[in-house]
Symmetry: C4
Subunit: 390 residues, 4 copies
């Protein structure tokens, strides 16, 4: 019984399957709890709130620490369920190894300071920082943050180069403005490190205006620095934005790849052809009752159904299509207006193919070509027949 | 008679055909009226203007509300003319369904508060907000706003990830600066929420300068935050700009696709080949009398005529070309200077093919290859003959 | 004689050939004069300079106006030399037509106000603006400004959409901040137009800090506006930067196209193949004595000579290569280090082919493939023979 | 003996081979010394530090100058060892030529002022600038700075165009705001050059707020300038960021090219095929003990070993693969989960091939196709056999 419970807990908290509702709700609960904790720390610094609701804040802190402690101990208990980790030797060693992973350490920091503060006097300010560290627990649940870390790692060479250029520019800006302004404003430009405050505020275009050059030379040099700033300090901007977009797109490709591989129409193809097809399709999830295609609207795409069921309103009576089916292909070949309305009956996972990519799809798979051509003939015949009896 | 009027009103206000001048003018009138309303609301807040021209502002408001009311009722009346909607059952149900669409609700909000204010006391400030909501009526007339919404929807995953990174950075920035600056500036950095004002102004590079760190630690941390700001807060910039460009280009593709499909030279091709060709051509509209190509100028493109008529000044007498014709192709193969001037006789819709894309166009359609080669031979012969008699 | 002089002046001031030194110097002189004029206007507003050097400024103004007048009259005189314009009828009509072109009007505005000011009393401020208009004369000499105008025109649809989004955001920002801040700061936020000053400074991230919200609501709303600002107001940035890069690259393509067409090795190819080759090559101009390739350095490219002469330091004695020759091709096939040093003897116009694009070049032209393969064999044999005797 | 020492010193300080540890450590020592010098100059301007640690700063300066002098003299001595330079004539001439290269001049400026200051009275401020110039010595060690210079050179045409547009906008902005604001704020807007301070701070979105327009006209114009600023002054941003990314990628391509050429599996291919393959692979360096592939994890890539050794944990006993080997290919064809864990035994240089690029790789080299297909069959058979005995 314990073994079963252990396996179940492992499934829920460590790697919930897509359809595992308990696992999903556990994840959601943890995300909400972490966010609520961060909000509590933030709001507690507002003195009126701290005074008025002190008891509530304390209660919430105790509650959160309890949950985090239970979560940590559970993870430590069930980590031996992991097939790969389990080959690492005696359960104690496996658990020790687990406790030293970054994820487990972040979990530990989330509640340990609370217990320590009972025995030791920890500065309230440090306590707050430790409590804000709970935000890091989100990394377990957010693929976005993971993507972001990947981008920084993969672009590190380019970013490093940009940062070096920025650092050299900063040193020169601060040094020259110090030479030019020291006499007139001996406080704001007391030394090169002091002058860096102005230099950074100018180069980053933040421009507080609390310190500005006063001499003619200082202003001329300041003008040069402003212009250089917009050129040089924009480098990381472009690098990160480009890298981030690419990374997100790559992740979406992998998601699409899995959807394509799971579509009956494509599942017999090998991984390479699936990759080629995944490059051409875009995934879309629609709720039940959603009108996917409306009769008479302009048409630029066809749809493949991965899962779920749709209803095509063709005369004499609506037809149902389930996973593996496709629709909207007539518009691609003969007309530019939809010939029938299609509505989702259940939640549907669809893959969209835009007209621009259609030819390429047919090139990838000759069988698909035959299949689609056949299907189109049938449906057009059907539509015409219906039109005649109308 | 009423039925005819109803159909005509439906055509004018709901889906004017390209050539329907009444529909076009109705659209233009509504756009101007909406913009004038927004200007009126803005100017009315200037006290001198409100005092001096109060009567005018009131009159304009009554006029606008009247128009908006009539427009709303007309739309409600004629909405049953819509073929697709009409299949929805009894006219009352069709109209109720229509009244609940977002477009109809925006139309309702544009005038309803005015009538309500006669019976209820509505705060003047809320009235103003409701009147500014009329700006939303523009969405019906602006494809740009629609594109923008599409971009935000399609990039929502990437944007969401960027916003999460920004939020985490904001929380850390505000928390640390609060710890560092609270003692020295107990008011500006009274709590973490207070410190967020400085943190946001710095991270977004707005940099008001109304609050700046004063301690050494605060300044050092501020320097780090400035640099992180230009990196992290630029993510949405890049994502939106890229997505927006792509979306606009996609819309232009669809426009070009229709133009290509409507050009006699290409209309017999299937939708896929048209899509390939649309990728190579750029649309251009010129007014009558416009000189499209000037003899002796360098040549880098040829032109296909979608509609309208042009005059080619070739000896012995000018030749006219209409929709389906093409010109400027000689330069692509043999010379780099235009051999004849071409002027638009009527308003012309042209499709431009740049020399760089010419080869690809010929690959798409072998018939086009033959057609163009033949045409070029003829024209060159013609030109040479003319040159000899000159 | 007069006819000859007229033709010569036309050649010099209107369309100097690449090798026409008088025309080149005339262009340079005009550019310097225009820039000097703008500097003079700028410096004249500095009171001390105006008082101390008043006579000089006046003298320079009279000198400049004289030159500009002579230039304008010359252009008007010789414009009938233009072959295409000359077909427009009687010389007077041709000259009148010319006088109404934007270029001629800009030229006129550059000096006319000076003469008018002798008869009329023109406000000194307007005189200065008219004198600054001389900056517009630069458009005649700067392809960069022309490119910029082209980009704005070709991206006008996208830019227009972005500006509309920005305008709507601005109206909402100014309206809401007005509602929230009016009571606390009745002057800075006196009306919606007044509030737009703050809204724009925030949305564009300029952030002067002369006006900032003071209420809690205002600050919260301000935070939202800052974040929206970095997203929305960055749209034109991305659009313009992308468009500008593309436009410059297109111009460079046309330049390269002409260079390729002028290289003996490629000149027999048709325009399309030249276009394909131009896509693969990068132009480079080097002064005499420049070391193009250094023996022993890593090699990633080969070179084609468009014009000029180079010296290849191969044993037993250096070989000279002129226009139509090529070098550096050995490294592409067999080794990654240069086997010989190559120096420019005269000013050389080169076309660079990077190793990554080599295969594509061979695909474009099979004769080129044979030619290069043959040449490489010869040179390698030569080198090996030299190596053995060394 | 001296000749040998000279050669060795040349190797160490001028062109250390990848495996030359003395050369590497010399480079590292110089980089650290240069950075320490810059820090010393910066910190010395803080008066308290200068007073408290004056002796230390002086000592460090003497030490650094000594090192830099020795370095310079050594470079001058050994420069005749350079094979290519040595062909330039008599050693004295070779050394004189070397002394005039930019690198040698930067080295000279790093220590010469120190000696000069013993005989001449040099202003302390200029001394500091000369000492900061030592930062330029870093260019010898940083490929990033070299890349940056390359980008600025190759994009100079585009950047120049952008700067011209910015200059024209700046002149107009300053001139008009001068006309509008001079009366109200005669000091801040005393002349056009004075007004440029405000104009630049606004156009670059720095926005200090020390000078802001006060009149209605000035504010309206200021609003226009803010909007134009975000459009125009962003041009260099986009240009530099794009160019920088491309340059870094190009350098990485060359690195990858060398790695591919050094992999036994590919080394028999010619330079062009290697270039094609280099476009598809990504380099990765892993430390000993690193787990490259984990059994049961999702698989999206295969690996080629350039150098080093890995251990594949396949039953019945682990297999070792060295340079020229490859692994992870099974996942590409049949399953989406790794079938075995692979760990690095020594430091390994790997080349990663992502599933999306696999097909393209096979197209490049038919032998590779056969080789991989064969290898996969073997390994799958092996795995199945192992699975049956398990």
């Amino acid at each position: 019984m314990t073994a079963l419970l252990k396996t179940r807990i492992f499934e829920i908290i460590e790697s919930p399957e897509p359809g595992d509702w308990e696992g999903r709700w556990f994840d959601r609960f943890m995300v909400v709890l972490i966010l609520a904790n961060v909000f509590a720390v933030i709001l507690e610094t507002v003195e009126e709130l701290a005074l008025a609701h002190g008891a509530f804040f304390l209660g919430f802190e105790v509650f959160s620490v309890t949950i985090f402690t239970i979560e940590y101990l559970s993870r430590l208990w069930v980590c031996t369920e992991n097939k790969i980790a389990a080959t690492g030797g005696h359960p104690i060693i496996v658990r020790l190894k687990y406790a030293l992973t970054p994820g487990a350490l972040i979990d530990l920091v989330a509640f340990l300071p609370f217990y320590l503060s009972m025995f030791l006097t920890i500065d309230l300010r440090f306590m707050r920082i430790f409590r804000l560290m709970r935000l890091l627990k989100l990394t377990r649940y957010s693929p976005a943050l993971e993507s972001f870390a990947t981008v920084i790692r993969s672009e590190s060479r380019t970013l490093g180069a940009a940062v070096l250029v920025m650092a050299i520019l900063l040193v020169f800006a601060a040094s020259f403005v110090y030479l030019l302004e020291k006499k007139t404003q001996p406080e704001a430009f007391a030394s090169i490190p002091h002058s860096m405050w102005w230099a950074l505020a100018t180069l980053t275009t933040v421009g507080y205006g609390d310190v500005t050059p006063a001499t003619l030379g200082g202003k001329l040099f300041g003008a040069v620095i402003m212009i250089l700033g917009i050129g040089m300090f924009a480098l990381p901007t472009g690098i990160l934005a480009t890298g981030f977009s690419r990374e997100i797109r790559k992740r979406e490709f992998i998601l699409t790849w899995r959807l394509v591989a799971g579509t009956p129409l494509f599942s017999h193809l090998d991984a390479l052809r699936i990759a080629e097809i995944a490059n051409l399709l875009h995934p879309k999830k629609v709720p039940p009752g959603y009108t996917i295609v409306k009769q008479g609207k302009a048409a630029h795409s066809m749809y493949f159904i991965v899962s779920g069921e749709v209803e095509v309103e063709v005369p004499p009576q609506p037809r149902r299509l389930a996973g593996g089916g496709f629709f909207g292909e007539i518009a691609l070949l003969t007309e530019s207006k939809r010939t029938a309305t299609v509505t989702a009956v259940t939640e549907c996972q669809l893959l969209i193919l835009e007209v621009v990519d259609f030819r390429q799809l047919l090139d990838v798979s000759p069988e698909l070509h035959d299949l689609l051509t056949e299907a189109m003939k049938d449906r057009l015949a059907q539509l015409r027949a219906a039109g005649q009896t109308d």
